[in-house]
């Protein structure tokens, strides 16, 4: 749909705001609605939007396949890693109180990192599924 001027301009305007909104949902999730899952989906939606307007190759140049596949696993590993960090620092698995000197500060730190893990995995999986579906069409028409 690269030929449509209106779509192209609106997409360029909107995508920046979508990514900012995803970051807002991610980092403001402690205070308002939202969190890693929603932020991950919104991030993926922004890139899917880009892919729809500018074509799949353009989106693959921005977010390449190897990065998406790494994200799928990296988020889970980050989440599980926070659990092990709690073990190493002398607490239980997924115990955030030991992550910092102040227990409340430790909770903040733990929640921040696990929410980041959720975002990375969810965004990666959503994008990967979209890439797989969209690229099947390319192969078929080849």
């Amino acid at each position: 749909m690269k030929g449509y001027l209106v779509l192209r301009v609106v997409a360029k305007l909107m995508i920046a705001f979508m990514v900012v909104f995803a970051l807002y949902v991610q980092f403001h999730g402690d205070f308002g609605p939202g969190g890693g899952f929603q932020a991950g989906v919104i991030t993926a939606a922004a890139i899917v939007f880009y892919a729809i307007i500018f074509g799949l190759p353009a989106a693959r140049a921005v977010v390449p396949d190897w990065l998406v596949e790494a994200m799928v696993a990296a988020g889970v590993l980050l989440y599980a890693g926070v659990g092990f960090a709690g073990l190493v620092l002398g607490g239980n698995y997924l115990d955030y109180f030991v992550l910092a000197a102040d227990p409340v500060e430790g909770q903040h730190r733990g929640i921040f990192w696990i929410e980041l893990g959720v975002l990375i995995t969810v965004a990666g999986v959503m994008l990967k599924i979209f890439y797989m579906f969209a690229s099947r069409d390319e192969e078929r028409s080849r």
Binding site: D30, G35, A45, Y79, E105, G117, V125, M126, M132
Partner: protein
Amino acid sequence: MIIATLLTMIAVITVVIVRERNLFAVVVLFGIYSFLMATVLVALDAVDVAMTEASVGAGISTILFLSALHLSKGIEMKPLHRPFLPLIVALATGAALAYGTLDLPAFSDPRAAIHQHVAKRYVDEAARETGVPNIVTAVLASYRGYDTLGEVTVVFTAGIGVIALLRRMRPRKRGEGS
């Protein structure tokens, strides 16, 4: 009143989805269904769930349905036989579920059993213990950290499942194409 109106609209859309044969229209109606459902959830004060419903139900799944639709024909085939037995099973299950809701406590009743167990402690202590004002986030990420780790693992498993299924198609296709 608002919720009743929205639920009526959802019921109408469901009937239209079942009867409609044009799959593009069905996908669009699914999106509308999700947005209505998200509005219902907002009216029920479940903003986090509403956000998920709007972004996943109306956003990503519509995209995935459309990309799947792109690979297939746009019109649903007429069923080969009249599916009366499934209709009866569905109606019986729905009636049983509706009968089950009759015993539920009234919406947001503070004396309901579910508010007597750990929920009270979360409401009282979450802000002090975790320093997170949004109790939903505190419960999800901190008190129920194991659950959320499990959920992320489910998303991960679903992702690699889809990768494994769709990847397998490629080499065979290339062989056939040349």
